[in-house]
């Protein structure tokens, strides 16, 4: 593999678990300072990829460079450069917030005189100064998450890996975490995050990679992905209670209409002309006795592109993750 100044560069990165392929020949480049998201359902290979890139597990085949260092030949140097926020907040329950950060500073070899100032600086940054002495186990879930991020930043990493950073958090905590991620990116830290939340990836990231069954399906900016999968000139959302499969089939059969996605009480459809195609939509819905509560024009979103690419129901994707809160094949 050529010498590179990209933050992350993988070539044919592959990982098998007991004969099952979790990550399949991943070729990916993440530039320095970029905020990159890996988007995919449970078991798609997101966590396995992070674990390989951070030296926790060995690839079966292929290799990766982190800041130009090979993960196979320089695992300790790679670990010293990256910060990792695992899906599970996993600091020491018995230790206080500050002591956890000081322990991390010791592990990463910060000079003694910096231990406490760095811990206090990070506690302030994640708004936990008041809880400096509180044992980790006594913190709320959002606070634990913030402290886990602080622990990953102790040694000033150049690359930060975040595995499902907002899973299980309330809306306010998730929002404050996203704002923290954006601040870090503004400081020049390369960020690689995995998420199953399409909105999160769309709002936060410079580029998105969609991974399904271990294979990288596509990588592009959210806007380019939207454009790429907007075959039609316009998209409309038709609000109708419980659209049937037969209705969906008939709409799909029409040459003028494309079914982009279907939810429990609405359909997203691609059309060429509002005047002509809306008439056809109304006619088909009338045949199926499907009441139209509202029709509105909408922009094609990353969610629509995701559905078109993967054929996966977004509601199911988000429900399965929030219901078990755990990802991964392992």
């Amino acid at each position: 593999m050529r010498e590179s100044m990209a933050s992350i560069e993988t070539e044919g990165l592959t990982r098998y678990y007991d004969g099952l392929c979790a990550v399949d020949h991943l070729d990916l480049t993440v530039e320095s300072g970029e905020l990159f998201a890996f988007l995919g359902p449970n078991g798609a290979g997101k966590t396995t990829t992070i674990r390989m890139l951070t030296g926790l597990i060995q690839p079966t085949k292929g290799t990766a460079l982190i800041d130009g260092l090979n993960i196979r030949t320089h695992p300790l140097e790679v670990k010293a450069r990256v910060g990792v926020v695992p899906e599970r907040s996993n600091l020491y329950g018995e230790l206080g917030a500050r002591d956890n950060l000081i322990f991390m500073a010791q592990l990463y070899g910060l000079p003694r005189r910096q231990w406490r100032p760095r811990a206090d600086e990070l506690l302030q940054r994640v708004r936990l100064s008041e809880r400096a002495e509180t044992p980790f186990r006594a913190l709320s879930r959002g606070m634990k998450r913030r402290l886990t991020i602080a622990a990953a930043l102790v040694h000033h990493p150049t690359i930060l890996f975040l595995d499902e950073p907002t899973t299980g958090l309330d809306v306010q905590s998730a929002r404050s975490l996203r704002s923290m991620i954006q601040d870090l990116r503004a400081e020049g830290v390369t960020i690689f995050l995995t998420t199953h939340l399409i909105g999160e990836a769309e709002r936060l990231c410079d580029r998105v990679g969609i991974i399904m069954e271990g294979k990288l399906v596509i990588v592009d900016t959210p806007s380019a992905l939207r454009r790429r999968y907007q075959d039609d000139d316009l998209a409309v959302e038709v609000v109708t209670p419980s659209p049937s499969e037969a209705l969906r089939r008939d709409l799909e059969a029409s040459e003028k209409i494309t079914v982009i996605s279907s939810k429990t009480n609405s359909l997203r459809l691609g059309v060429h002309s509002l005047d002509e195609d809306l008439r056809e939509i109304c006619a088909i819905m009338h045949q199926h006795h499907a009441p139209i509560e509202e029709i509105r024009t909408v922009n094609v979103s990353l969610e629509d592109a995701f559905v078109k690419l993967t054929g996966m129901d977004v509601e199911i994707l988000e429900q399965e993750k929030s219901s078990n809160g755990q990802g991964g094949r392992k």
């Binding site: 674990r51 951070t54 030296g55 926790l56 597990i57 060995q58 300790l76 140097e77 670990k79 010293a80 990792v84 695992p86 599970r88 996993n90 600091l91 020491y92 329950g93 018995e94 230790l95 322990f103 991390m104 010791q106 592990l107 990463y108 070899g109 622990a151 392992k330």
Partner: protein, 248 residues
């Protein structure tokens, strides 16, 4: 580089001591266990207590060094804290040494307590350097045994059960209560494969004049060092090749 890794090992050991060992239930257990053992043997036969002290030191070190050590890694595996350590720039040997050291220090402290009480109350021979080295070697060996068990087992309960499979036979086979010379040849052969045998036998040499030691002192110390090296090697191999099992 080695200096850096040793420093990191010490920080992990210090954290483990603080998190697991320096807790009032563990400290009180570390004090009460040997004292109750001494008292029990003293009540049974006050005249024979001096001959049992080497065995009591050995058993105390065995239980002190393995009791928590055998479950710490398994426990940290379960709560995800082991993943946190593996994400840091720590080499596999550093991890082994750091995890072993906390158990070894606890074993050393409890073993030395029995030695001190025995020496003061019953006037045992004061061969402090030899006794200290013997207790230290034993503590390291048994703490490494705990690390190996902890690395092999997936659940905390399994690790506790497995450690008892090793500990209880050693208590009865290694000359703790009955000197090796008084045991049958078959039992002596079995005892020769167990590390506690050499520790207790060395302590008989060092603490009691004509204490009925079976092997020469150099053999005892050499065998103890070999057990420690073999268990370190096993723990290192397990850490290296089963590293991924440490992540939940």
């Amino acid at each position: 580089m080695m200096n850096v890794q040793l420093k990191r090992a010490w920080y992990i050991t210090r954290k483990d001591m603080r998190t697991y060992y320096l807790k009032s239930p563990i400290i009180s257990w570390g004090i009460l266990f040997p004292l109750v053992m001494i008292l029990a043997f003293y009540i049974r036969n006050p005249d024979d207590i001096r001959s049992v002290i080497p065995g009591l030191i050995g058993v105390t070190v065995l239980f002190g060094a393995t009791s928590l050590e055998a479950v710490v890694i398994t426990f940290e595996k379960r709560i995800g804290a082991m993943e946190r350590l593996l994400l840091a720039p720590i080499a596999p040997p550093t991890l082994v040494v750091s995890k072993m050291a906390s158990g070894a220090l606890f074993g050393l402290a409890t073993g030395c307590l029995v030695w001190l009480v025995g020496s003061i109350v019953w006037g045992l021979r004061f061969a402090w350097l030899g006794v200290f080295v013997t207790i230290l070697l034993g503590s390291i060996t048994f703490a490494l045994l705990g690390v190996v068990i902890s690395l092999l087992m997936r659940e905390v309960f399994d690790a506790m059960t497995m450690s008892n499979y090793f500990r209880f036979p050693m208590v009865f086979l290694c000359g703790v209560f009955v000197p090796l010379a008084e045991m049958s040849t078959a039992l002596q052969i079995m005892a020769s494969f167990l590390p506690l045998t050499y520790m207790v036998d060395a302590l008989r040499h060092l603490l009691i004049v004509d204490g009925g030691a079976h092997y020469p002192l150099t053999v005892n110390l050499g065998a103890s060092a070999l057990f420690a090296l073999a268990l370190y090697w096993a723990a290192w191999r397990l850490t290296r090749y089963r590293l991924e099992d440490l992540i939940q």
